[in-house]
Symmetry: C2
Subunit: 197 residues, 2 copies
């Protein structure tokens, strides 16, 4: 039964094209430009076809977000692996996270700002988000006892810095100094806490 497989392949291919189109349009014209009609035009099918692949528009955004989580995890792992020392590794992870967030703003938006509801029901999303989290945790772990807490806080600080800079709330010029401050805080958390306890 090669026919069913061919059809399945074609469907999967079209689904990828939808997600790719959504991402491309969002990145070049913003998420407001990502309408069902626009995506239908991009893939050269009628609108209802999209609803045979995704339940609604949010599900398409969520699919883009899942792609983003995969890529973020890869980027962070590579950044952590390339460095020599523990401190360099942490700094590289921070810089890589920032570069990711600012170079793909629409993708980052899909991951952390837009839907925030459906995408966490899917198991795949959870695991991919976890992969990125683990990459950060690996870089953080040499400096602290309670890895989970420190990773969450480190991540939140990077996320907050990226968001406030992206929306023009804080000065764009001092980026590296702020990141250095966050990294230093993690390093200090490792050297201070044990001394006290």
């Amino acid at each position: 039964m090669g026919i069913a497989e061919r059809k399945s392949r074609e469907r999967a291919g079209r689904e990828e094209r939808i997600v790719a189109a959504a991402r491309a349009v969002a990145e070049s014209e913003g998420w407001d430009a990502v309408t069902i009609r626009r995506l239908a035009k991009e893939i050269e099918y009628s609108q209802p076809i999209l609803y045979s692949h995704f339940a609604n528009r949010d599900a398409i955004v969520a699919a883009v977000a899942v792609e983003g989580f995969k890529e973020l995890a890869t980027v962070l792992r590579e950044a952590a692996g390339a460095a020599n020392g523990k401190r360099e590794s942490l700094m590289d992870v921070a810089m890589a996270y920032f570069a990711f967030a600012l170079s793909r703003p629409a993708l980052y938006e899909a991951m952390f700002i837009l839907p925030t509801q459906l995408q966490f029901a899917e198991a795949e999303t959870r695991s991919e988000l976890r992969a990125g989290f683990d990459a950060i945790a690996a870089a953080v772990s040499p400096f602290c006892a309670d890895v989970e807490i420190v990773t969450e806080t480190f991540w939140a600080a990077l996320h907050g810095l990226a968001e406030l800079e992206r929306s023009g709330r804080i000065r764009p010029g001092m980026r590296d100094k702020r990141i250095a401050l966050v990294v230093q805080a993690i390093v200090d958390a490792g050297s201070n806490a044990p001394m006290r306890g």
Copy 2:
């Protein structure tokens, strides 16, 4: 010519009612429910009236955001003033910020997530945002030399923690530990940096 004044007063009152309605609907049903038709119904006028007060829907959201910036500044100033020691003051500011963000999610959304374009052209918004920033800066200043940088980073960390928790990315239970970690980082930044320099 008391007539013109009366009319001006009535207009201002109606404008306040529009903003209040937008905020109330957003807080109880989410920003998606805040449509022009819905607000018109709430204030018992026709839709075009709203456009004699605001250029478009985003301007209404921005007006709500401005209210939020004023209230945030007040909340942070009170928190900083009530505490005794420098460290308590910093911790209280952090807790107050968090309480603000989580207790008025729709308001916080208007301030930091939704429009992010128009509202910073207005001078009023800038000054109110600055007021909140200054309140944080006052609590941070005893612990560092470069107040601006540290304040930006401290604020970003709080914002990131609030956002990630609000969207369910990090565990809700460990909130206080993460906040304590951020506060400790600021305190350490003050005790470490001078020793090195």
